[in-house]
Amino acid sequence: MAASQEKITVYNLADLKNTSDDAIPNYLNSLGFAQSHRLTDVRLALGYSAFALAAACFAWDYKFGFDSTKQFTAAAVALYTLLNGALTLWVVYVERGTVYVGTAPRGGETVRVSTATKKNVPTYHVTVEVTGKGGKGLETLKISRAFTEWFDGVGRFVAAPFQEMLAGSVAVIGRADPKRASKAREEGGVAPAAYTPEMLDALAQANVSVVGSAAEEATGSEAAGAKKASKRRKA
């Protein structure tokens, strides 16, 4: 079973999001997508050049004293402000929460995945923008799933349902990973994003915890739809 051995705190939204974000490049690169590091490169270039400028300012101030280097320092402060401002604008407006940019192995489409979460709500919002080869046609897909679908009760990340979610919803990824795509289709598509009130009542009466494998088995028998109770435990 493809479950990682590291456990994270399931109540920490930042941990959930970061672990999921880290899994996306791993998964897509393993399918043969060619990742583009342009966004990261520009961000690092801006950040490190601003840092280098500050270091240079420190150095000449240390060596030559304040009075003789006043003009340089003034120029350095202005330039630093510009660089930092550019970096902030880049991260907020150009990157916009992008986690992965890459080209599909066979079709050559460009895929851009960005993710978001809302404070204290354990739902993972993924936005996938697919641009056809040569820049033609932009398709935007939004997927919103609960983190419970790929984290078990203890906090281990389970790769298969996460990959199924991506392969089943995004055609480009599904083409590159037919095994997961067909698995996603066979399970009837969209899984419920949260426990319904009836399920919660049933669980309370059955006196089991709401998260964890015990709950999954309990709700599996109550839930409507094609979901099998042991779906998440299967390899």
Binding site: L44, G47, A50, F66, D67, A76
Partner: protein, 157 residues
């Protein structure tokens, strides 16, 4: 990189303030009790070194470094001779019995306007005690660096 940027932004803000006020050290800590009851040891002082509206006059509280020493001294101007950047100024601490002639370098009887690193334009009581503690107990610096190092290592980036 983020941690480095935090450090460099803090440094650049300090330098920006320094350039704006035209003072090598726009924020200083009062180290002695020579200006009591106005300033106590540990107060943080904000300095301004540009004479935009009027020159540094008698009665202003100024900060200067004695030639050759790195310790900033905060005293009041009590005499002034001449005008402009070459004016000669005599200072005295409010709480001192005598003026600063003994504090100046050997053979120096007056301060030049150029020696002054700024006039006090504002202050915050007690905040500067952190700096005094750091310089009097250097092991505190190691502790602080250790904590910062831990934070960097445990962070995500």
């Amino acid at each position: 990189m983020n941690f480095g940027l935090i450090l460099s932004t803090a440094f650049m803000m300090w330098k920006g303030l320094s350039v704006m006020s035209d003072s090598p050290s726009p924020i200083v800590v009062v180290l002695s009790g020579s200006m009591e009851p106005a300033f106590q040891r540990g107060d943080l002082l904000m300095l301004w070194n540009r004479n935009l509206f009027s020159e540094t006059n008698v009665g202003e509280i100024v900060v200067y470094n004695v030639k050759g020493k790195d310790i900033p001294i905060v005293h009041r101007v009590v005499r002034k001779f001449g005008t402009g950047p070459d004016a000669k100024l005599l200072t005295k601490g409010d709480n001192n019995a005598a003026d600063d002639t003994e504090l100046y370098a050997r053979g120096q009887d007056y301060l030049n306007r150029k020696d002054i690193i700024g006039s006090v334009v504002g202050y915050m009581p007690f905040v500067g005690y952190v700096t005094i503690m750091l310089s009097e107990h250097p092991w505190l610096k190691t502790v602080m660096l250790g904590i910062m190092g831990l934070v960097v290592v445990l962070q995500r980036e």
